[in-house]
């Protein structure tokens, strides 16, 4: 569950503690902002908001890793192509790995660490294995592990990118209607609530607008 956090070198317990602290703070803020507007339902709304904030904080590493995976998986094809082309001509695996460059920050960092290990005298397998374990994309990790081998380009045909794009599209198809529904019905429902509860005081109306901002902000981040 916390694989992404571990890959980003974030302690899961610290992440949970941070999530709980932020969720408590958000809960307290919601309580203060909406006041007694919803009467007995205030507590339920407060709990729901806190849980959503907790989810947003705890799932942040996964979302960061997902975003990195797309660019890394594309870069993996480039890396394996260059690596295979160079391996056939250069002949030395170490030299090919040292020559490799990447435009992706994480892969560039991993390549720098591999180069350092090679200069220090580590074997290529050992050097690449350690650095590749930190990459988000398995294609990039595989490309780095096989870097400098003549067969490096044989396996990378962009399957991961294709899968990630398909899953991203499906996720968007699911999330868009959810957010659109939330954005469409929230102001209508809140206005009907104001009408039938006969809310006319300025303070209550401001709380109503603040409640909408909170609901839509949370929906925005959950659906992003």
């Amino acid at each position: 569950m916390f694989t992404s956090a571990r890959r980003l070198e974030v302690d899961p317990r610290r992440l949970i503690t941070l999530g709980a602290a932020v969720a408590s703070l958000a809960g307290a803020l919601v309580w203060v902002v909406i006041g007694g507007l919803l009467g007995a339902a205030t507590l339920e709304v407060d709990i729901v908001c806190s849980v959503l904030v907790f989810y947003i904080v705890v799932s942040a590493p996964r979302r960061i890793m997902d975003a990195r995976r797309v660019s890394q998986s594309k870069e993996a094809v480039f890396l394996s192509t260059v690596s295979a082309a160079s391996a056939q001509v250069v002949g030395s695996r170490n030299r090919v790995i040292i020559m490799l460059r990447s435009r992706d920050e994480e892969i560039a960092r991993a390549l720098a660490s591999v180069r350092r290990a090679l200069y220090l005298g580590f074997a290529p397998d050992e050097a690449t294995a350690k650095a590749s374990s930190k990459l988000a994309s398995y294609s990039a990790s595989n490309a780095l592990q096989r870097a400098g081998l003549p067969t490096a380009g044989m396996n990378e045909r962009g399957e991961e990118t294709q899968g990630l794009e398909a899953s991203g599209q499906m996720a968007a198809e699911t999330k868009l209607p959810v957010f659109m529904t939330a954005a469409f019905f929230t102001p209508i429902m809140l206005l009907l609530f104001a009408v039938f509860s006969q809310i006319t005081e300025t303070q209550r109306l401001v709380e109503l607008v603040a409640l909408e901002v909170i609901i839509l902000d949370l929906a925005f981040y959950v659906c992003s």
């Binding site: 094809v77 056939q88 460059r101 206005l191 009408v195």
Partner: protein, 211 residues
């Protein structure tokens, strides 16, 4: 043809030419002519005597990811073999073309989504305006035996704020910086509907007390 796709296709042909044994500069000069202003800029730099690395700099840094990837592949051949790189680059150029086409499709889909969000914003604005205008009147019907005096227009500004905030966030979600269009559409529809429905709200409330 899409500019980005034409650059990717031009680089694909460059790789094919290099695989046949043509030099990198010659292949770039011959094939980038059809790649629009970016390609012409590269050709101009090459003809002025710059190295392929310097000539391709605008594409490797800052152009689309796929074109940049293919340009970097062409440049990487100087450290190995131009012919081998050209042959091995076939898969990458195929994939780059697919990725660019997929992105173009996504761009078209996002336009449709944007139109949908504008429609949703307009409808939400209209519904909110109706509720805000005749809402106080309807609210007084909840207790028909003892109707509360309807404060016409009391929800007009909060209703506008609610509708504008929701359409702004919807616009931000679907079209990023273009969110102001959603806000504008909602504002116009809200104002128009509120103005059109206003005479209903000024109906004498005592009429509802008739048993």
């Amino acid at each position: 043809m899409d500019q980005e796709l034409s650059v990717v296709l031009a680089f694909r042909r460059v790789l094919e030419r290099t695989a046949e044994g043509m030099g990198v500069s010659q292949a770039l000069l011959r094939e980038l002519g059809s790649a629009g202003p970016a390609g012409n800029e590269v050709r101009r730099s090459l003809l002025l005597g710059l190295s392929p690395g310097a000539a391709l700099f605008p594409i490797t840094n800052g152009y689309s990811a796929e074109a940049s990837m293919l340009a970097s592949l062409v440049l990487s051949s100087k450290a190995s073999s131009v012919v081998t790189t050209g042959k091995k680059g076939e898969t990458l150029s195929d994939l780059a073309e697919k990725w660019v086409k997929a992105r173009e499709n996504q761009r078209l889909e996002s336009r449709v989504i944007r139109v949908r969000s504008l429609l949703a914003s307009a409808v939400a604005g209209a519904v909110c305006a109706m509720i805000a205008t005749i809402g106080p009147l309807l609210g007084s019907l909840s207790d028909i035996t003892n109707p509360a005096p309807a404060a016409a227009g009391s929800l007009l500004y909060p209703g506008a704020a609610l509708a504008l905030i929701s359409s702004g966030l919807l616009g931000l979600y679907t079209s990023g910086r273009g969110f102001y269009l959603n806000v504008l559409v909602t504002g116009i529809v809200y104002g128009f509907v509120a103005f059109a429905v206003a005479p209903l709200a000024s109906f004498p409330s005592s009429i509802w007390a008739i048993k």
